[in-house]
């Protein structure tokens, strides 16, 4: 549910849509999420590549809010995805990317041809508070999951220390650092416990794809079924 392509500056150059899909399929995944930093521009091509081999791809982004909290946001359709991207772009605080320091930010096609390079640094925070982001995602029928909440940087716990009162989430993501069965983070921070959790790879390199995953039960894949499975909690097996 949390994979970076070559569009994220920190995403390895080998993380093309084809390579990501091939690896995920090889590792037995049924559903993956494409979540580049502040950009969805490789998500649709990844979905199309996945479709050809029976892999479902949720299209989204890992958005950096004004508070520097990372949040996974997924959209139900390509139309909504385009609208969401325009919304994110309207909140960009422009800072030019430095490819030597941060890495390339490449929009690519199915054949790994480079279609565009994003000029502004995608890991920068948007002028967008977390509550407003969440409300926008919900209003658009999307899925909203604060990312790696257990990590000491860019997480709800590191940046805010608590879950804001009005914030709604479909689930919280624990990083791969939280080993299954040993959720020390939740013991230490019990105010984060009352949520449904997923764990994802946060893969930036091919070999990291599916190094950890979550299991959700649903009658068949659809965006709505996925959202419901997240909400229902008792069917989420970590």
């Amino acid at each position: 549910m949390h994979i970076h392509s070559v569009l994220s500056p920190c995403g390895d150059i080998e993380m093309s849509p084809c390579a990501i899909v091939a690896r995920a399929k090889e590792r037995g995944m049924d559903i993956i999420g494409l979540t580049d930093h502040n950009s969805t521009r490789n998500a649709d091509v990844t979905r199309r590549v996945g479709e050809q081999v029976g892999l479902h791809v949720l299209m989204g982004a890992e958005v950096t809010t004004k508070e520097e909290v990372h949040c996974l946001c997924f959209m139900p359709t390509t139309e909504k995805l385009i609208e969401f991207q325009a919304f994110l772009d309207s909140r960009v605080v422009f800072y030019p990317n430095d490819v030597d320091r941060f890495g390339y930010q490449l929009v690519v096609d199915e054949e790994e041809n480079v279609l565009d390079q994003v000029p502004h640094l995608l890991i920068n925070a948007l002028d967008l508070p977390i509550l407003e982001l969440q409300q926008k995602v919900y209003a658009m029928g999307g899925i909203f999951i604060p990312a790696h909440i257990d990590r000491p940087s860019y997480s709800l716990s590191s940046q805010l220390g608590f879950v804001p009162d009005k914030l709604k989430v479909h689930a919280m993501e624990l990083s791969w650092h939280c080993k299954a069965g040993g959720y020390k983070f939740l013991d230490d921070c019990p105010w984060f416990s009352d949520f449904n959790f997923i764990q994802s790879s946060d893969a930036h390199f091919i070999e990291d794809i599916a190094k950890i995953h979550s299991v959700l039960e649903m009658p068949y894949f659809s965006f709505e079924n996925f959202k419901n499975a997240l909400r229902q909690g008792e069917q989420v097996i970590l």
């Binding site: 950096t64 520097e68 605080v93 800072y95 320091r101 640094l121 890991i123 920068n124 925070a125 940087s153």
Partner: protein, 109 residues
């Protein structure tokens, strides 16, 4: 005032000796990296509690001679390795941000 003079006057610990002769023109205190990217100026010390490697990437990008970690902060292994590779001076203060800023402001003015 140079980085090494500041280290001495404020009794800072130095974890990576680099830019010791660099002239310090001021300081910027912030724990939001995007804020530092947008607002810090070359020649300023960066005062922060963040200890991950993006800190050194940004210090290098913005030409900040040194990063001061407050409250005895310990840099991540990645951050220190990157600091050594990029010649970024990493300093540590026992003080919290407010006290450190107060002391630094006095000696720099």
């Amino acid at each position: 005032m140079t980085v090494s003079e500041i280290i001495e006057k404020l009794n800072l610990q130095c974890l990576n000796e680099a830019n010791l002769d660099a002239e310090v023109t001021g300081a910027y205190a912030s724990d939001l990296l995007s804020d530092v990217m947008g607002n810090a100026r070359s020649g300023q010390l960066w005062i922060t509690m963040q200890t991950h490697k993006n800190v050194t990437a940004i210090a290098s990008l913005k030409d900040l001679p040194a990063v001061v970690l407050v409250r005895d902060g310990v840099p991540d292994e990645d951050m220190l390795k990157h600091a050594k590779a990029e010649d970024i001076c990493i300093l540590v203060s026992q003080d919290a941000t407010y006290e450190l800023c107060g002391k630094l402001y006095e000696i720099l003015k």
